[in-house]
């Protein structure tokens, strides 16, 4: 049972030893010891420089399309393809105003629709998934193991197998072209991935804490709300950031449930943009592409720590 496990325990040591710490020095020593000199004709410093050079080159290749997208969003459409440089020779901020107003509604309308779906999903995932996780991590009940296994399996269930009947169901209650089909499932903890993430985290919280609270007469409701949730803030943050990014990027279900242009979210609107203007207005389309990924980028910038921990804990996406 000693397989590799990474948990986001509150006191977990940081994965990378800070440079200069004993751990870093030990590992550096070990690395050197493991490299007999005959293996490489170059001194360590040259090799390290070469490695950095290679890594930087790769980083540039990886990030180039994104920078180019940004640069192109301020170039006039006619010169986008003639001009490979990242610094635009003439600045066309009109792409942004033009793109913003290219569809039936200003692009802000679609961003707002996305925001509504995101906020609903956030509330749902944070509340419902943490509740379910508390039960799986701390409560003793009949069939727990079975339900837990079902929960794990539901993570891997392709959404496509349920989307057709879901569509029929939601059509019958008149929810097509509302945000409910996108929000209600989250309120019912169907994003089992996050249940699992929080179960992992809760298991790392010392039981002595809730046992003490029980002795003091706390019920499960208070243990959950007053002890577990505050201690699980990192897991909640991870959940919030992933929910935000995945919901914001989600396309398949939004495409299916939101067919009326007024209800379109940013990705669906962007795709309509592509269809309606085709090749003619790359500039404005790139501008709106940038607008639509800025929120994800900001979430990445400010939540990176939680994202990395979240992936390392559960290993998804």
């Amino acid at each position: 049972m000693t397989e590799v496990r990474v948990r986001t325990e509150p006191a977990a040591p940081s994965a990378t030893p800070a440079p200069g710490t004993l751990a870093a020095r030990t590992s550096a020593l070990a690395a050197e010891a493991g490299t007999p000199h005959r293996r490489s004709p170059w001194p360590a410093r040259t090799r390290s420089a070469l490695k950095h050079l290679g890594l930087i080159a790769l980083a540039v290749v990886m990030i180039y399309p994104l920078i180019w997208l940004l640069a192109s969003s301020v170039k006039p459409t006619e010169i986008i393809f003639r001009d490979l440089s990242l610094i635009p020779s003439e600045l066309a901020l009109t792409n942004y105003t033009e793109g913003w107003n290219a569809l039936a509604r200003p692009f802000g309308h679609y961003l707002m629709n996305s925001a509504i779906v995101v906020i609903g999903s956030l509330v749902g995932n944070l509340v419902a998934c943490s509740m379910a996780a508390y039960a799986f991590a701390r409560l003793e009940f009949r069939g727990r193991k079975l339900w837990f296994a079902i929960m794990l399996m539901s993570i891997m269930l392709p959404i496509h197998v349920i989307i057709v009947p879901q569509y029929i169901l939601f059509a019958q209650v008149g929810w097509i072209n509302t945000f409910w089909p996108l929000i209600v499932p989250k309120l019912l903890a169907t994003d089992a991935f996050f249940v699992f993430l929080m179960v992992q985290f809760f298991r790392g919280i010392p039981r002595e804490l809730d046992e003490a609270a029980r002795l003091d007469g706390c019920g499960h409701g208070r243990i959950y709300a007053r002890i577990m949730l505050p201690l699980a803030l990192p897991a909640l943050a991870t959940t919030a950031i992933f929910t935000f990014i995945w919901t914001w990027n989600d396309f398949f279900s939004q495409l299916i449930f939101l067919t009326k242009p007024d209800m379109h979210t940013a990705p669906v609107a962007l795709r309509t943009f592509l269809d309606s203007t085709g090749q003619s207005s790359w500039g404005p389309m790139f501008a709106m592409s940038i607008v639509s990924i800025i929120p994800v980028f900001l979430a990445f910038l400010f939540g990176q720590k939680y994202l990395v921990k979240g992936i390392a804990t559960t290993g998804i996406k």
């Binding site: 397989e3 070990a30 493991g34 950095h52 891997m156 269930l157 392709p158 039981r207």
Partner: protein, 314 residues
């Protein structure tokens, strides 16, 4: 560490519980019912209910307009003869069988290069990870369509070296490969899982090995790789499952058609067309169940094969 190892453990062991820990108290049935109420409701209404319904619909002819009409195995018989479906399977399998291994090799290679505590590690990690977050978005798919278009960035580069370009996304021979490349581009997420796994390997193994005179290559082959196999396996299972369900990239890059000449017709894209463009809901349901079977079979194959190459230290 993972869904997969949890499942493996649950399947293997008897009563599963955080090892060595007594339950807080016997019988929290009522509290559990309360805390699990939303999840149970979701399981019944949003997951299992629709699964049952979709199993039923797969034996019917249903277009939303008239009530479903029982047709027995007709949908499945049609699937046997549907050349576009077979093509979709071929396209998707190609995408998965080429894209996933390439992506994992890139992820593992980079994770190995990024040494513990090396200078600039956070920077490299961020830069390599960012594409994974954006890769599934419509914006990036639009970008891809342009980059590999006739007048796109790639061709402009080639022209710079006087190499004639081509319409990468409009040519049936190359369109799918641009999507494979997009998949490889998102190697950052599995890379971070590998990084976490590498950090778990006790340093003393390497120290002991180097005292015994093992060089870097042998250390890699005899320590790193065996201890990393569970994580490779885990990544493989999840990436295969995920890649088989890819939709957005193909949908946007091909303008919703799966073209040119059905060369980017992913399975899910064809399912979408049957179900939500042609409103052939019975057939789409049958297709969805085939998808479940395929994903389950691939996962099972992975699990069985893992006995021969995954090393569990327990």
């Amino acid at each position: 560490m993972s869904v997969v190892s949890e499942l493996r453990r649950t399947a293997r062991s008897g009563p599963s519980r955080a090892p060595g820990r007594a339950p807080l108290r016997r019988g929290d049935g009522r509290a559990a019912a309360f805390f699990l109420a939303p999840w149970f409701a979701g399981l019944a209404l949003v997951t299992v209910g629709p699964m049952v319904a979709s199993a039923y619909l797969s034996f019917t002819d249903y277009s939303l307009l008239a009530p479903p009409e029982w047709v027995g195995l007709d949908n499945f018989a049609r699937m046997l003869e549907d050349a576009r479906l077979h093509n979709a399977l071929r396209v998707t399998f190609t995408y998965v069988l080429v894209g996933v291994p390439l992506q994992l090799v890139a992820a593992l290679g980079l994770a190995l290069l990024l040494d513990r505590g090396m200078r600039g590690l956070p920077f490299y990690r961020s830069v390599f990870y960012l594409p994974s977050l954006l890769g599934g978005s419509v914006a990036i798919a639009i970008l891809w369509r342009q980059v590999f278009g006739v007048e796109g960035l790639v061709n402009a580069f080639l022209a710079f070296f006087n190499v004639p370009g081509r319409g990468w996304v409009s040519d049936p021979d190359t369109a799918l490969w641009t999507l494979v490349l997009l998949h490889v581009w998102t190697f950052g997420a599995p890379m971070i899982i590998f990084l976490a796994g590498l950090r778990q390997i006790p340093q003393m193994y390497y120290e002991a090995a180097s005292i015994d005179g093992a060089g870097r290559v042998r250390q890699f082959l005899h320590i790193t790789l065996p201890l990393l196999t569970p994580i490779v396996f885990f990544n493989l299972v999840l990436q295969v499952i995920g890649a088989f369900q890819s939709f957005t990239q193909a949908f946007v890059v091909s303008g919703g058609t799966g073209g040119p000449a059905d060369s980017t017709m992913f399975y899910t894209l064809y399912l979408y067309q049957r179900g939500f463009t042609a409103f052939d809901m019975g057939y789409a349901s049958a297709m969805a169940w085939l998808l479940v079977l395929i994903v389950a079979a691939l996962t099972a194959i992975n699990f069985v094969a893992s006995k021969f190459w995954v090393f569990y230290d327990d």
